[in-house]
Symmetry: C2
Subunit: 357 residues, 2 copies
């Protein structure tokens, strides 16, 4: 079968080696004669998977001492509520930055526990940029940001710095670039971009924040519940964690986060250069805030839409339709997307211009 | 490799056909040239999976009109909080029956939103029976029960009937026997017994209860959020739902719930007869409340423990160690466990008695 260039925004492409090993493990995992999905989550074989997954996160992101790693359920959407409950303090007030639909949803959940202020927003320009010079004063319990905005294609290049604890939804760019974990009190991320398949979310949590909420926390939303049970308070999403572990192993084997960051920058440069230099296309975001993960762009001549769509489909390119709120195209270039796929897209864009430009 | 008789309490045995088809789908799903875990959850191929899974639940359990089926995350543990939020009404008071560790955990979550009464309990005899003649008066918003108690091995044979709305955690026996869905306002269940792999939970919800809570509900805990988006409000746990769908297809193909109920009763009778007739063993629960899913039993002569453990391990039997709170043994006989596995266990029990009884 022809290789499909999978530019999906998430769930998204993962390494072929992950599909192959997971496929085998569904038939016979760890030479037990049992499938990965029929063994007890308390069995030594799965406990080893969970511990390897947690320790790979620590190693790949150089997580400092005093932080714990948890694999939970509910995606980042449940994370919005979880971080609100776990970070609320005596001021019962939090600062959120609104850089898009997901940031807005995150902010909404804080309203169930306290008072929120949107201290910066790019809603005025359809979220096409990242607000600069963000400062959250000490009258806030914490500041919440969204590192990469999948829909609009923007990404923080620097994170706000202040004494106010920083909480970050890193769903769509975690493991894509080096970060300084010590800058954050909680980093959380749905798995289904660079970590693994849909069905789990990773939390990197400063241990000293646990148990300090100013309101009672329901059991499953309390990060301390999961921390105290090594991320096994209740049955974890076994397969999603296993496949994430395989993917993190792949990342380590292939040079780790520093190396993949270089590759990601190369892929993004290749595509953005074409967007900027090809007279038929234009980007939709502020150049300095462009995401290396999700490139959003428009075809300037609407009359060529059908032609272009046919061309990239014939080239086995998949998943580049833009989100309805931005329109046009969105090419998601997560870690496992080969640079050859970006080259193929660029070739199709060039070909369109040669034939119809 | 020798066949392993998998008596795990959950995650547990699923049909071999499910492992095989899921294994293939990880390499090439729906002939797309893509893995099931790299496609968009909004793609027609996955939307079809979600819709087939929801409609198989309706068909297999004869769910009447006016009920919806949702596949969410967080297991039954998140369900404890979810049902509390969605079923609390003006009395802000709920009745819970305490039949074991999971029932107790369910009750605890209601305390975050309202006042709870444990109106019946079997804690006095280590949860070895199901309280009878349970009546929750009209001063309660709802009555909560746990249909099957995995740890202690007890199961409701009849459900309480009253005008008070009934909510049931059916995690460990859903799809194992016929039920009358119309008796319940919400049935919820973690997948990892008879539905599929760990990582999703099914909710069968009377639509008329939606939107009637007396307190504000955080977005992800509001069943209405998921109902209004056809169970796709946020990225669902794609693989767990896919494998559940395959398993429900298998159940339908193999005679449905009525047929599997007969098989389950045969398997349980076979094992309980041996427990009762073999002088070396004894059951731990009231005979009339015995679970068809989880049989708990003790070896009367402690001196034979090592011998027995060695014998069943040599027979490729796995997962029958009892929960620490009950001790002894627990044989879980979920839908996909072949009757031959039960026969093998019974043979080992007989052999122990012949040689050492």
């Amino acid at each position: 079968m022809a290789y499909v260039h999978n530019f999906s925004a998430g769930p998204c492409v993962l390494p072929q080696a992950v599909f192959e090993e997971a496929s085998q493990a569904l038939l016979n995992f760890d030479n037990l004669g049992l499938s990965i999905i029929e063994i007890s989550h308390r069995s030594p074989s799965f406990v080893a998977v969970m511990e390897e997954a947690r320790s790979l996160v620590k190693e790949l992101l150089e997580v400092p001492d005093g932080y714990t790693v948890l694999f939970l359920q509910g995606g980042a959407s449940m994370g919005f509520l979880t971080v609100a409950y776990n970070m609320i303090r005596n001021q019962k007030k939090a600062a959120y930055v609104n850089t898009g639909a997901w940031a807005k949803k995150a902010a909404k959940e804080f309203s169930f526990v306290g008072e929120l202020d949107i201290i910066a927003s790019s809603e005025d320009k359809n979220y096409s940029y990242i607000p600069k010079n963000i400062v959250a004063g000490s009258d806030y319990d914490f500041l919440h940001i969204t590192s990469n905005n999948t829909i609009s294609g923007t990404q923080y290049k620097d994170f706000p710095t202040s004494d106010t604890p920083l909480v970050c939804d890193m769903s769509s760019d975690i493991f894509s670039r080096k970060i300084n974990v010590a800058d954050f009190d909680i980093i959380y991320a749905g798995a289904q971009k660079n970590m693994g398949p849909a069905g789990t979310a990773v939390y990197i949590v400063k241990e000293s924040i646990l148990g300090n909420s100013s309101i009672p926390i329901p059991t499953m939303l309390d990060l301390n519940t999961h921390y105290s049970k090594d991320s096994m308070f209740n049955t974890p999403p076994v397969f999603a964690i296993y496949a994430s572990m395989l993917n993190l192993r792949w990342l380590k084997k292939n040079g780790g986060v520093g190396h993949i960051q270089n590759v990601n920058e190369k892929k993004a440069t290749l595509l953005y250069n074409e967007i900027d230099n090809n007279p038929l296309f234009e980007g939709t975001t502020a150049i300095e805030d462009r995401s290396t993960m999700n490139a959003t762009f428009l075809l300037k001549e609407a009359a060529l839409t059908d032609t272009f769509n046919k061309m990239w489909q014939e080239a086995n390119i998949s998943g580049i339709k833009g989100h309805r709120s931005v329109g046009g195209y969105r090419a998601s270039m997560y870690n496992a997307l080969p640079i050859e796929s970006v080259m193929e897209l660029v070739n199709v864009m060039k070909e369109l211009t040669e034939k119809h430009g």
